[in-house]
Subunit: 348 residues, 2 copies
């Protein structure tokens, strides 16, 4: 009997999810480069590589350090790296693995160059493109080609391609953007060996990314309630649940669980409620304090008792794995193995 709250991962479901992404990408003629932010475990990163991935994606240097330590050897770090402390760690990493990074502005490129000019090997730098998601990224194909050209001129750096996190449901626009940028790079005589797209919500759109060479996805390995809501998976494809105990039944219609925002996070991702109760999908997790979740039972026949252990599919699993020091991995025989979440809490 596991003590609660705890995070339990269904290994057979993980393996199915890994195979599904790889198959979708294979069919679309894309390589895969899974984002490790969802699991934060070398154990699963290696499984993704064994299934056919060409490498992994990390967003923090601390994550990449853990992955290299765990035996991974090809890493794309999708982040603007700034400052001496991080640049020194980046240079040390680059000596230990095949490393590429992204960049969307000249200040960052110059910082990378200053640090890598005297390194034995050039650092491969991809240009991050804002194809509509409104996060980081250069704003136009012209800007992408301009920055690529500047990167290529800077000592210690080699332009390596384009990277974008495409907005959902705009695959054709994104592909047009990338096509335009590639044309401008070609006009400038710059080879563009990699065009990296991303996102689990975009998995069904892979065939539309004609100009991409690889796809980064993270959440698909576990899936979550937000992906169920988007039609990207079913309940049966969710590999991760938070096990939690009913600690109070203050009223006939209210149950309190020992999973609050410290276990489920406050991420709503546009949904109502803070997770799905597997035992009663119609019940609503209407509120979270740090250590308690408040479930309104509504018209549900479900009548949990104090002490009952239930399973919650979180809204957003990636932030949940960041909250648990360990996960329990359940294999096909029901055997449980506890594993520290090695790259948890890597903020830098």
């Amino acid at each position: 009997m596991l003590d609660t709250p705890c995070l339990v991962i269904d290994l057979p479901v993980v393996d199915e999810n890994i195979a599904r992404f790889q198959n979708l990408a294979d069919t679309a003629g894309l390589k895969t480069r899974p984002h490790i932010k969802t699991h934060k475990l070398p154990f699963f990163a290696k499984r993704q590589i064994e299934a056919g991935a060409i490498g992994i994606t990390c967003q923090k240097i601390g994550e990449a350090e853990v992955m290299v330590e765990g035996g991974l050897r090809d890493i794309l770090l999708t982040y603007n790296v700034i400052g001496d402390a991080k640049l020194d760690r980046l240079a040390a990493l680059a000596r230990k693995c095949t490393l590429s990074v992204t960049c969307d502005n000249l200040t960052v490129a110059k910082g990378l160059s200053a640090r890598f000019a005297d390194e034995e090997n050039e650092l491969t730098v991809l240009v991050e493109c804002d194809t509509g998601a409104g996060r980081c990224g250069v704003q136009s194909p012209t800007d992408a080609a301009e920055l690529a050209s500047r990167i290529n001129e800077l000592p210690g750096l080699r332009f390596g391609g384009l990277m974008t996190y495409p907005p959902m449901d705009h695959a054709e626009n994104v592909d047009k953007w990338l096509s335009d940028a590639k044309q401008r790079l070609e006009d400038a005589g710059l080879p563009c060996p990699v065009v990296s797209t991303g996102g689990t919500p975009n998995l069904d759109a892979l065939p539309a990314f004609n100009h991409a060479t690889e796809h980064r996805a993270g959440t698909y390995i576990y899936n979550d309630r937000s992906l169920i809501a988007r039609g990207a998976c079913g309940v049966e494809n969710c590999a991760a649940v938070v096990k939690t105990t009913v600690v109070s039944r203050p009223t006939k219609t209210r149950a309190i669980i020992d999973a609050g925002s410290k276990a489920l996070s406050s991420d709503l991702l546009g949904l109502e409620g803070f997770g799905m109760v597997r035992e009663a999908p119609d019940a609503s997790i209407v509120g979270l304090s740090e250590e308690h979740g408040i479930i309104e039972l509504g018209d549900s026949d479900w009548d949990p008792a104090v002490g009952d252990v239930i399973s919650i599919i979180p809204n957003h699993i990636c932030v949940v794995t960041n909250l648990f020091p360990t996960v329990w991995i359940k294999d096909q025989n029901g055997e449980m193995m506890e594993m520290p979440v090695a790259a948890r809490g890597m903020l830098r």
Copy 2:
């Protein structure tokens, strides 16, 4: 130069905040029992004791274990403790400090009794009361007296008083509720040595808690944007900021920082935006992905450059301290000391 994102605590402001709570409680004739969930550090818990607190409040056994290890000796654990694993740890804790717990139902009370019946000392159990906050707690003064009576009859347990987390702006109703419950306890011949209220948002209401004996508050030690919004403090009373670097300026009106939901959390607490930029309070942190914050500058004259380090006052500081492995404490001379957040991530 600190690497970002990081959490920096201003020690003189902390000391002012500790003194203020103690003074407010002294004036109202209440003892203080600070909740350590905000700082999660024995270092600050001891400072609260030195300032006059009679003990501390924890919500998880893991937090209490860290505090006992750190030298704290009087702990109220405001949680329904369930299950053998936790009960064994609770019994071990009770041998090392003055421990009391709360409970709002008979199932929990019976579990506590079964474990403590053979211990040398009885466990003190307070009845948690739902005085309107809609979380845990018995629903009426009659139910409180009934559960208190049952607790007192159970082997190994001693009824110790009443505990509630009062809703904001209802101090008089709460005091009436507690007064009624105390009367029923008196009618039943049950002494009620402790009546514990809580909440930083209720600090101005302390004089209205005539039937309370002690108050638990946590957030007051650091304060945050939610408390500024409620008028409970000013910007100058906020002791904790997240230092973050501007990593991208994709457009004239958008800046991207290296603090996302893994640093600031997604807690909104009813506010718009995910924190206050100290350098530009009119700028809006409109979105967070896990590793990036998106700031819309709007009409602000503020024009941060890539590489600039800025300070964010989080919406909800308690969940933020749970996300950072260490904090930097800045003393009155500007000297910085890095300290592990010892009771971080204690989910059980």
